[in-house]
């Protein structure tokens, strides 16, 4: 892959706003954002800053109230055919695991591989590979109802990558993961970004964002307050840490982002 291709925007938003009229909430205001191929972008912000709304618009799951959206070269709203092609190449991994507890982990991965149109000969290899990457191989034959919450979350992440998507969007994937699971996840996301995919992660983990992300975007009340390469941004604003940059950009104590514990459903 050439440098030109890696820097081409995989997806972009221009002047995007989103209102939820029923709740009288303006979730996003005039957002411009590019997700270049080959980069890992972290979306940071407090609860209610608009991160999930942004991610769902990037996934084509939600239509904006204003502005233009282009996902993997497809203008939104897409035709039904273009929408299907988009779902083949993109993946939105929701915050809550969406799995069938009565199926085994292996069955869920194999079924989703079939639905994503992964070639029959390729399916078993993909299932084994992803189970290995997320450390769930030993549990694959058991029904998911017997898995711990953290393991289920790992399978949920693996399932979202079964079709090797060009665009990977993850909503707070680290919530409920143990340290090992966290390490597996960030290593895999970095690996996918290095191989030319566009990856965007909503996270509360400033330290992980600083360590792993190529770019960060800080959201506050539906607006992007800062966006760019973390070190360059910190230098530009004269901040020694990302936490300081967060405080400077949002006026909030970075402690509001402290990872939540024990919220996992058992």
């Amino acid at each position: 892959m050439t440098a030109d291709e890696t820097s081409a925007p995989s997806s972009s938003l221009r002047g995007v706003s989103k209102e939820y009229p029923a709740a009288r909430v303006r979730a996003l205001s005039d957002v411009d954002l590019d997700l270049p191929a080959g980069t890992l972008t972290a979306l940071l912000g407090a609860n209610g800053a608009g991160k999930t709304t942004l991610l769902r618009i990037l996934a084509g799951l939600l239509a904006p109230s204003a502005g233009t959206v282009e996902i993997l070269g497809v203008h939104q709203p897409a035709s039904r055919r273009a929408g299907r092609e988009l779902r083949r190449r993109a993946s939105y991994i929701s915050q809550e695991p969406a799995l069938d507890p009565e199926m085994t982990g292996g069955e869920v991965l194999a079924l989703l591989a079939a639905l994503y149109g992964v070639a029959r000969a390729e399916r078993a290899r993909r299932v084994d590979e992803l189970a290995e990457i997320f450390g769930t191989t030993a549990h694959l034959q058991r029904p998911l109802s017997t898995w711990s919450g953290g393991l289920r979350r790992r399978l949920h992440l693996a399932a979202g990558m079964i079709h090797d998507p060009d665009l990977l969007l993850l909503d707070e994937p680290t919530a409920g993961l143990d340290i090992e699971g966290n390490d597996f996840l960030w290593a895999e996301l970095e690996r996918r970004a290095r191989s030319g995919r566009a990856v965007a992660v909503v996270t509360h983990d400033l330290a992980a964002a600083e360590r792993h992300a190529d770019r960060i975007a800080i959201l506050e009340q539906g607006r992007i307050m800062a966006m760019g390469e973390p070190r360059a941004l910190m230098a530009e604003h004269g901040c020694a840490t990302l936490a300081e940059l967060f405080r400077r950009s949002t006026g909030r104590d970075p402690a509001v982002l402290a990872p939540r514990r024990g919220r996992e459903k058992e």
Binding site: R88, S94, D100, M103, A114, L115, G117
Partner: protein
């Protein structure tokens, strides 16, 4: 590209897998028609039924009816699994793949229909054990069975459509009773036409369960193939209810 047949097969396999892991449901859905068969059989076999051709007993008449009733009862509950799949988010997730909603629905309905037909056959076998008699006319049996299959598919689709619309177990239970009982008692599954009051016989004539029961019974008792009209009407009903369920499927995709 994902081949539609591949998707149908994968979803059908998944539907069966989950069903076999709930043996209680399977046992009850087989036990219930047996109870009906025995109670109705013993209750009514003493009454002379004028509509029956000479040489047939009420148990002979009842067997195809209860076999079709098993399909109706099973099919109207087919959507319940999808309420669970909505609650876990797994159905919306399946719908947010490039697989077509139509193929996913077809896989689910195919799996349910095949299971229901096996149950209908099992109920018939039980009926034979308690003394019912049938005629083996292969060509008629195949076309009668096709009508039963179309009926199974139609009502599985209806159940899925209602489940996706209601999104709650409680509403689904109401639907099941609201549909099953009136359809059963205004059909010729348990009682012949001529034993019914005039208005009821008129209702029974347009009842899809009657269409199915008559096709199935004609094949089993008299070796008579169903009319193309009956088969065509059931196919039309299945197609319409499939389209209805598909609309609800597309709406459910946004829940992911």
């Amino acid at each position: 590209m994902s081949s539609a047949l591949d998707v149908v097969a994968a979803v059908a396999r998944r539907t069966w897998t989950v069903t076999w892991r709930r043996p209680v449901v399977l046992t009850f859905s087989l036990g219930q028609p047996l109870v009906w068969m025995l109670f109705f059989g013993f209750l009514f076999h003493r009454f002379p039924l004028v509509d029956l051709p000479a040489g047939f007993t009420y148990v002979d008449f009842l067997a195809p009816g209860v076999s079709a009733m098993t399909v109706l009862f099973g099919a109207s509950q087919a959507g319940i699994g999808w309420i669970r799949d909505l609650q876990t988010g797994f159905l919306p997730r399946m719908l947010n793949t490039p697989a077509s909603a139509g193929a996913i629905l077809a896989g689910k309905v195919l799996a349910d229909a095949v299971r229901l037909l096996l149950q209908a056959a099992a109920v018939l076998a039980l009926a034979l054990l308690v003394g019912a008699r049938v005629r083996f006319a292969p060509a008629a049996l195949v076309s009668g069975f096709l009508c039963l299959a179309l009926f199974a598919a139609a009502f599985s689709c209806l159940s899925c459509a209602v489940a996706l619309r209601a999104r709650a177990q409680e509403s689904m239970a109401t639907f099941v009773h609201l549909v099953n009982m009136p359809l059963l008692f205004t059909s010729t599954a348990l009682v012949p036409h001529r034993e019914m009051p005039g208005w009821l016989a008129a209702v029974a004539r347009v009842n899809p369960l009657t269409l199915t029961v008559e096709a199935w019974r004609g094949a089993l008792l008299f070796g008579r193939a169903p009319s193309p009209l009956a088969t065509g009407l059931l196919a039309l009903l299945a197609a319409a209810l499939y389209a209805l369920a598909l609309r609800q499927m597309r709406a459910a995709a946004s829940l992911y």
